[in-house]
Symmetry: C2
Subunit: 515 residues, 2 copies
């Protein structure tokens, strides 16, 4: 048994049975071993950022890490943007990066680069495996590190000769660590703060965003009057009728500051202290008002859901949660505005849908329009590295073949990882990509307005416009084997979305937004 | 004057008047300053790897660095694969990476990551600029570092508040360092070695690959009998009728070892010692035979062309170089094999063409078929990070608007940076992309065969095949505004290539290769 065979056998025994791969020569023994270990499903991607984003989406839906398979430093680099998003989502990922044989490092061959430095920038754990006999055990350590809690990207650097060497030994999975429990005194302390009658916000995120966690948070809010907000970009948010509708903290600094103005107690449950996405001249970097006490009910790695339930038992023993009633917007008519797009989605969102939201500026109305839809999950761009939506949809669809996946996707961001469509077609994934086609990096328009360009700003504005030439997303989808259509009105979008959702397999709708 | 304005003014004064950009919020003041400094041409790309590859191509053709403009760590990461290729090409690149404001770093905002670690992996020089007053001067230091010699990637990390701060001061360009000259005793030593009558190879690369350098090398070969070989993947190789035809060292290890077998003296001129691209079980990592003396006539950073001319004066004062006679293959007929593709290109290659060669397995016959064509330049994949061809073609076409650029491009590799086509259309670049469409990562077929998969290898082979579904490159080009056609026979390719070369602007030909 060579190293690669031992690795694959141990991985499937440990529950890692999907690998999102973009291999090269140094990974060929790993690839060859796929014929020995048919329990491992290898999903080919045409770009490493699709593989890493898919691993993120897969784990967000299963709670288990998928493996990636990337090719040396440049392949890892191509995967880093979406590994960054996974890091911010605290997603467990087993990031396998092939490298030159140990005997070959000293030759500084053309593909040689500092894999370890690249890996360190996105990983909670990095190890370069040096002997075939230890490979599977190293992988089990990586897996344990990826699980955390909190979850993270564990990068196993895999030299080619460690893969091909004989003497591979399988290794049993490590016992998974449980999240640590919050001390009852911490819960009591938060309960006391909420009992003071001062303006307070309960800010939930991360592991608090479970159905149980949200229901408990809602009970606390109903009983104490604390305002409930969630992270701006949650990794996974369960939503819909029967669940509390939690408002995310706004992205732009002014409304975010306004949302927290006057807060005297900010209780964090699974979320970090809210900070500005970017700095702006004259605006603060943190959204926590001066004089506001910050209470960490549960930090990442702690059981935030259990902490919220304990808090609810303490301060709201007899209070019921406030949940969304079933409700859908009416199907809109006429121009395809962002609001109309949101209403179409709200009118048609199927039961158990997984929505991957990288709509950016076009998505502002989505949350409200879908709050009363049947139960669904919402996955967002956690780390701001655009090009996450389509790959994450790939991973979510591989993870949940029986659930419809809808990627609501900004046009400019779509292009970073547009080859995710090919993997959707190859694997016949039930992904419907709705491209929010406004022919611009619209999010930057507001930023440029803030900055104030000189003169008429024409040369600056060119860098924010995605035309000419117009991108034809229907052609880009057809070029990769995905059926596609173009919607220019609310009615067309509704008709095309209904059809796409009714048919199995991938679809793309180019939603040309009215200006 | 703010920092960004001082930066742009100083850059254009120093000859950096093109910026390949994919900006975000933290770069908005740089973008706004474009309206103040119209001498700076900003070329928008839809993915950072296109920007970095274009900067590489631009500098390979002009000898001057272009600037990039990338967005924080994830944006830099997306650019790293082609920065890696630029590093291996020793291309001067001024790599500008926007980052969070200095006051914002401590908040660990979602897009925060270790930019410096990422930059270090591909750069000869990294500096984080900390004050607005120093920004332009820092940029001039970066530029000097990028020039070298040898050239390299100099990364200037640019915090948003350093850009937006007032008090910017322009800075004059630094005086460029000249390449150092090789000591005459080194030339004499090499001359003596070549005079021993023992089997010798003159291995040229890097800065030796100028017209003058090649002519001198050819004279040395003609006079002494030394065999002339060049690097497998030169950054830029002048070729064609009237110039010596230099055989590149083969890529696969067996023929490379054979090409150097029995060599007693290996003379390096601008090239590094030849090593295997990858390690393989049972094969050596270096291609230098045992007992072979290695003579470094000129190392990277030294004037390799002058050294070759000095050597030619010493050992071949009265010898003329051996140059290619004008010759073209006949236009082939019938099945579109890789040989037929090469012959069509050889038959039609225009004067002063720039060929960007990322054809990989499909390109084996290209060198021979084009050796007698009119004078042209050949740019190759220097660092093995695939997805370099189309971006480098963008940069070469921006650099040389009067020269036709032909990108001979493997299909799988094309997909990593396929959005380069959009920039070709937007900038109306005279790029003809010929996709070598064999529907496979064919280079890996040979590697898998070497490894020997278990069973029938069906599951392994799936990871090397680009179908189903077939990629439709015509649709992918149309989707980005590039006219495109499909060729299935040698005649069709000839007709379509002739037409593409006759029309201005970009074209794509999907050359569907016969099995």
């Amino acid at each position: 048994m060579n190293g690669a065979q031992a690795l694959l056998r141990s991985l499937v025994d440990a529950g890692v049975d999907v690998c999102f791969a973009n291999p090269g020569t140094s990974e060929m023994h790993f690839v060859a071993a796929l014929d020995d270990v048919p329990q491992m499903r290898a999903v080919l991607t045409l770009f490493e950022g699709v593989a890493s984003g898919a691993a993120d989406g897969w784990a967000r839906m299963t709670g288990r890490p998928a493996a990636t398979l990337l090719h040396l430093g440049p392949g890892l680099a191509n995967g880093i943007a979406n590994l960054h998003n996974a890091r911010r989502a605290r997603t467990p990922v087993l990031n396998v990066v092939g490298d030159h044989a140990t005997t070959h490092k000293r030759y500084d061959a053309p593909l040689e680069s500092d894999v370890d430095a690249l890996a360190g920038s996105v990983s909670t754990w990095v190890r370069r495996c040096l002997t075939t006999a230890d490979l599977a055990a190293d992988a089990m350590d990586a897996l344990a590190a990826a699980y955390g809690p909190p979850g993270g990207v564990a990068t196993l650097v895999l030299p080619a000769d460690v893969s091909w060497g004989q003497g591979g030994r399988t290794a049993p999975p490590r016992r998974r660590r449980r999240p640590s429990l919050v001390h009852p005194d911490t819960v009591a302390e938060v309960g006391s703060a909420l009992g003071l009658g001062e303006r307070a916000v309960l800010f939930v995120g991360g592991d608090a965003l479970t159905e149980r966690g949200l229901l408990a948070a809602s009970r606390v809010a109903a009983a104490t009057g604390v305002r409930l907000l969630c992270e701006t970009f949650p990794a996974r948010l369960p939503r819909g009728a029967g669940l509390p509708s939690v408002r995310p903290l706004p992205y732009p600094p002014e409304p975010a500051l306004e949302a927290l103005a006057g807060t005297r107690h900010l209780v964090l449950a699974g979320a970090r202290e809210p900070v500005a996405f970017f700095a702006y001249p004259g605006l603060p970097g943190t959204f926590v008002p001066e004089g506001c006490a910050v209470h960490a009910l549960a930090e990442p790695g702690q059981d935030a859901t259990a902490a919220l339930e304990a808090l609810a038992e303490l301060v709201a023993p007899d209070t019921a949660p406030v949940v969304s009633a079933p409700a859908r917007p009416a199907l809109p008519q006429g121009p395809l505005t962002p609001q109309a797009l949101a209403d179409v989605l709200g009118a048609l969102l199927p039961q158990d849908a997984i929505v991957v939201d990288e709509a950016l500026t076009s998505g502002r109305s989505l949350a409200q329009a879908t709050a009363g839809c049947p139960r669904h999950d919402w996955l967002t761009l956690t780390g701001g590295a655009i090009g996450q939506g389509l790959p994450t949809a790939v991973g979510a669809a591989v993870a949940c073949p029986d659930r419809p996946v809808i990627a609501v996707q900004a046009d400019g961001s779509a292009m970073y990882t547009i080859t995710a469509l090919w993997t959707c077609a190859r694997e016949r994934l039930d992904v419907t990509a709705v491209i929010c086609d406004n022919r611009a990096y619209a999010i930057l328009d507001a930023e440029l307005a803030r900055v104030g360009a000189s003169g008429d700003g024409a040369r600056a504005r060119q860098l924010l416009e995605l035309h000419p030439p117009d991108l034809d997303f229907v052609a880009l989808a057809h070029g990769q084997g995905v059926p596609a259509s173009r919607a220019r009105t609310a009615e067309e979008l509704a008709e095309q979305l209904a059809r796409a959702l009714a048919e199995p397999g991938p679809h793309l709708i180019d939603a040309v937004l009215a200006g």
